[in-house]
Point group: D2
Chain length 338, copies 4
């Protein structure tokens, strides 16, 4: 039973079926196919507006490409200190922005505090630093499984507008956050001030499908050239379009996210009953909990898989395919092992 990450899972059957069905016949490459057009149309429907879309295989690429649209070598990008794009993407955003400076802000529960951001921007001296704040990147849901509320996003957005900054959302787990907030995609993105969104599907049931959604058309110029230049553009592009079509059709993506969130909530409930310490509120599909070392060893010995995050702390992630029985089994074993 693998709780390491939501990317240990495979492809959801409906997406796989769509890949099989869409495989027949010849279609034009590089996005000039009906699947891609349909996926673009779906994005317009789902987000209730025109939107420029670039599809690719990885979340690292989508963050880097998105930031490359809003940041230059003399820009500063603000994010949570230790955000995925700062610490876990091998400098992809530095590469795709040709050297933008990434400035981390200490966060609370994985979320940027508006007051902290405002202070950081107010205290920032472009003349001394010789770079100019250009964009704030928020991760929704955060790397710690927490979710920005509407009000929270609104406050950050207001700060961005006041300081003349763009706003980017790393939505590798956009669906999980949306399922938690129970709102419309538009509300959690462009209506909340997001200019560019990295929209993930891979963790939530796709094979390898991430999209950059550009809500401000003035930012989208050169999007296609940048996609190609990064080596990100599929020649058999239909297979990206097909994944997104199936993912977005009939609310599959939200069903899967709700399922993953529900499993995480069950894990949290079970562990809470045993008095487990939680490092952050459990709002999406990730938990960070502290357990005694002998409990952890015992769980590992029983074949449960999870990542350790420092002494006694582990991360547990529920995916779209996590089974209730596995959750029950983990909780049971954890309680017994304490």
């Amino acid at each position: 039973m693998n709780f390491c990450s939501d990317n240990v899972s495979g492809i959801h059957p409906r997406i796989l079926d769509a890949l099989i069905a869409g495989n027949d016949g010849d279609v034009m490459p590089y996005g000039a196919d009906p699947h891609t057009r349909r996926a673009e149309a779906r994005f317009r429907e789902v987000f209730e507006r025109e939107v420029a879309v670039a599809m690719m295989a990885t979340g690292t690429a989508s963050n880097a490409l998105a930031l490359g649209l809003v940041a230059s070598p003399i820009s500063a990008i603000f994010c949570r200190s230790g955000a995925h794009l700062q610490d876990n993407e091998a400098g992809a955003s530095v590469m795709y922005t040709n050297g933008a400076r990434i400035i981390g802000i200490d966060a609370r529960n994985g979320l940027i505090d508006p007051g902290d951001l405002d202070r950081a921007l107010a205290n920032f001296e472009p003349t001394r630093m010789l770079c100019k704040p250009a964009v704030v990147s928020v991760t929704q849901a955060s790397e710690f499984g927490t979710v920005y509320s509407h009000q929270h996003l609104g406050e950050i957005s207001a700060i961005c507008r006041r300081h003349g900054l763009r706003m980017h959302m790393d939505g590798a787990r956009f669906a999980n956050a949306l399922a938690h907030l129970e709102c419309q995609p538009a509300e959690m993105s462009w209506r909340a001030g997001i200019d560019v969104l990295s929209f993930g599907a891979t963790k939530n049931g796709a094979m390898a499908a991430e999209a950059v959604l550009v809500f401000d058309p003035t930012l989208a110029e050169g999007l296609r050239a940048r996609l190609k230049r990064g080596g990100l553009m599929f020649s058999k592009h239909r297979f990206l379009g097909i994944q997104f079509n199936a993912y977005l059709a009939n609310g599959l993506w939200l069903d899967l996210a709700r399922t993953a969130n529900a499993r995480a909530a069950e894990l949290a409930d079970g562990l809470a009953r045993a008095g487990t310490e939680f490092l952050y509120p459990v709002e999406a599909n990730e938990l960070f909990v502290r357990l005694p070392e002998n409990t952890l060893s015992s769980l590992e010995a029983q074949g449960f898989q999870f990542y350790r995050r420092g002494a006694g702390v582990i991360r547990l992630v529920a995916g779209w395919n996590t089974k209730p029985a596995d959750v029950a089994s983990f909780v049971d074993s954890a309680c017994k092992a304490v």
Copy 2:
């Protein structure tokens, strides 16, 4: 009937079946899965040696990443003038080498002439140009459907060694060239002096699967970091491993390439009988032919698809899935329309 490119095709059934079969269950991400390990082992078998492998979705990325291992911002890369990496990849190789200079050499039949290369290198003035020749990139099969012979590769390799240059092969159609030469992969790559190979599977039956194969281990340091930095590393990495496993198993890849080459040869035979002018020898799966404008219009009107390449010239590409009947139909229509 689409003769535009070999990337208009879908996934070969055996590769698709492998994706379906490998989809079950959870596996660790980022390459720590058994499918990836098996694919790496297969590459060792197929190439009869140790080899560092990086797998990704696109050929543009594999060329750029490969060249990034052997060229720096003050390097010159020599290739055929107008090679895919120079003209059709949006500067990806410039991006991944951080600014290497790409110098095109006029080619004959799409192939670099050893004499021309030797002269270009002998006449190159690093002091005046302020960059240093670092690597020669050959495309095998070439963008014009021609194939470097062993002797040809050997002569270029000898020149590279004499001038202290590395040798890269853009093998987007490696299989088609191999099928033409009827030799072992090792012979056409590292035994022929290739240091880094971009090994393509996408055009020849995979969905999106390209690999950088590094034969000189001193060049492979940082390969993984560069892969991640470019945003190229799949999180659900198994789906790259699975494609390569199925592609390389039981000689599928060679069967598919032989099929495509055979279809191209049938096209060539048929058109030759009608007295068609060929711009290049037909050795792999591409043809460039000159036909009267009214023939071309008539073919297009009948639904045949192909790319035009200047006045009266078209490119025809046969894929792994091109049907003999379609070839016959094209030849028939072309002959009638003349």
Copy 3:
């Protein structure tokens, strides 16, 4: 007697005197000194308008920095094929634009022909090339000692505007061209459609002083950060300001350019009388002439220095300090040696 280049000369006495005079006392660094402010004011006077100025030591840097303001990694820069910025600056413009593509247009007498440019732009396929024409760079005076007339610049400017391109001038020898055209600096720059100018003083009497002049204020954002980022910003910035002050004061710069041009004209007259073949019209301070090999050897043996440019062709450059007697001596020796 050295006719290799105008950069073999030293500093003009009036500029040197200014450096000596301005050396006394402490002033604030990084441009916050009165000399720099005065130089900026002089640029405004000389060019009859507001202008953002960045001062630095080298012409390569000024071209690269200027192009970095108007071109991005997905831009194409058009220039004369073999222009200094394309062939002789070690890829600085690629570095400072983070990878813009430099596209050379075959030139006539070192000058871009408007018709050729228009055709190149009309035939350019951004979709296929995956980069977008962003700027045309003209070198005034050209590397071959020829000068764009007002009408010529106007035609190129009209083409730029029609295609939505910016216009850059490499003015390493701006003064020599201006002296030839006998017009106002504004006429030959922003009134002629130039958005960004690399304004050289080094070759024409300064020690090391080049400026980027940005006429469109929307392009100047981040100019200072880019200057620092390139490692180009002097800490003791006064010494750049002082050079430009003395250079621009009382028309010194034009006097020096007129002198150099006059010496070149004398060289041309003398050599013409001897029936020498000229490769280009002599309009500024450079000559390209064909002479018999034994003449060249003889001249070299007598201690005349010049650069050879292929079989029998040499370049002769007159500087602000070239003496009439040296010119006479060269002409005399050349005529005798024939």
Copy 4:
């Protein structure tokens, strides 16, 4: 009386005289002149070994270029947290390394603690961070006016060798550190394990003269191309050579550094007598002291210039030209104003 920085000063008379003397006559450009050759010879003498030298105008460029020789886009550079190259050079080192990651280590008195460095390297996870520690950069004298002792450098060097890292020294104030340690240049550089040195002369009496000294010849390949590519190479290169010749001749550079250090020591003595709090030991030519706000205002009102560094803290820098009387006057005023 300006204590803001050592770059508020002008050129030392002997260096200025040398510029005047060297100005006569024509010499070949781009370093092919006798002054440059003589300066290179002097570097060999002063450092008692062969050394590859690149000369340029700014310290930012010399740091960035030097690091570009030892770090790649997938490298990590370790320095003091907040070091000049990290915070004050507009990302030049990121630009010239094409994206190396700069990792700051909290320092004690402006100096990297060997234990901290060792722990940082031991705890560094290249696999997780996806970059590889490549170089440690030490600033000698540090930005806080402190100096690494021989033993201190030796300990850091040992750590570098143990971890396979290169060692860079930002020697913008190399002379001031050397004057403090009273040792040979070789001892404080390559014999102490430094592979690449940024050797500054500007702050200590030159106009604009900084050099990258490469002690390991395998690192020097492409040095000249990189210099040109950055736009750093003077065409009238003699004026860099002349500055270094005069600077290094007859121990001028050490005399000037001793003078500046002596003035700083006098400032320190005087302020210490008045009970002033020092933030760091005064070892070179900089002081950081805490003074009451009304004292600071009073000093400013009297025309003393210095930089404030947070509440009540100021930096005072003595230069080669700081007069004892000015020091006495400052101390006097500071004591009276308290």
